[in-house]
Amino acid sequence: MMPARGASGGSGTTAPLSYHGGASDGAAGIVGVETTPGVYVVFWGSQWTGHDPSGEAAYLHSFLSGLYQSGTAGAASNDNWSPATTQYCQGVASGISTCPSGSAFVTAPGASPLLGSWSDSGTAAPSHPSQSQLANEAIRAAAHFGNSTALKNASVQYVIATAHGNSSRGFGTQYCAWHSSTSSSYGQIAYTNLPYITDAGSSCGANFVGSSNDGISIVAGHEYAEAVTDPFPSTGWDNASGYEIGDLCAWINPGKAGGAFDLTISTGTFAVQSLWSNSFGSQGGCVDYYPVGGSGQSQTPVNGT
């Protein structure tokens, strides 16, 4: 029997992630990870104007702007979660699961990875955007931010956030969000479809750790980490079943090993899920704590729970 590509929450699948060779991206060469991660957020459509009942725009902005920022070593406000992505790399042989020293690793940026946000509210977004409409909005965002070459887009992602009641079909019953990529005259564009997460209630994480807005950062963080390590699915880091860094650790209850927890960073406290680390223990695992450099990574949360 052959397992299908897909995902299931906390599935217990433990095969390591392996590199799938990357994708050819014009002048940017072969791209398999975001080596210097950057993220742009687009609040798409006039439906956002004066109508954000859960305060998702500000919450998402705060969460993403605090990622990777590290002040004093060991400080409680450091982001010791997203650096789990920094063990993965590109430019290595397909099938490899451990990046040799000297590889082109994902690096922790010295400043916030949030490079910009855009309220594209001049007209209404489609009431239920299709995948192609979301992809086109990501291309529009690349143009808006002046990222008109493959090189400029090789290490960034675009989060297309849709407004309350304005989500693509299947949201809340099948999925909470997804990421993908599209080709364009600006090179390959990595983007995420991020619906108005709180519209789905507990199905997409409301109160999963303790706050009604938990799902926003859990889901956005899941997609963010996956877009960093597999920006052009599925040419980056996946396991044999197609699971990515977030899929393997999704929806593990708080308090369990690798469970979701509250991450305190310089911009606030946000619920996140753990991320898969090939380098944890002898077989890998879902880690809650992975400081820059990876020394002392842990499956037991040090923040929250």
Partner: protein, 98 residues
């Protein structure tokens, strides 16, 4: 299902707190091949999903299991037969239409 078409499957556990369905497996990948889910999803809590491409005429069985018992002492789901709920579906793939 005509050759060349895609089939997306979502299995939902009875409750958000219960164990989800395990990976959806296919008996014959030459008939129904695991495909790209078209954007990698954060699935809704309790949902397992997969997408398949109809590759050639024939019959393939999709199947999955979930544990209905509590976790074992080791923390993993119990896999004793009495604890396993099974799901399966037979998919008939026909020649490409037209």
């Amino acid at each position: 299902l005509a050759t060349g078409k895609e089939l997306t499957v979502f299995l939902k556990a009875p409750s958000l707190e219960g164990p989800p369905w395990g990976p959806i497996e296919v008996s014959d990948a030459a008939v129904l091949a695991p495909g790209d889910i078209g954007g990698i999803m954060t699935l809704v809590r309790g949902v397992t999903g997969a997408v398949f491409s109809a590759r050639g005429p024939g019959t393939a069985r999709l199947s999955a299991t979930r544990s209905t018992c509590g976790p074992t002492s080791g923390g993993g789901p119990s896999t004793t037969p009495a604890c396993l709920q099974s799901w399966s579906a037979v998919v008939i793939v026909t020649a490409r239409s037209g």
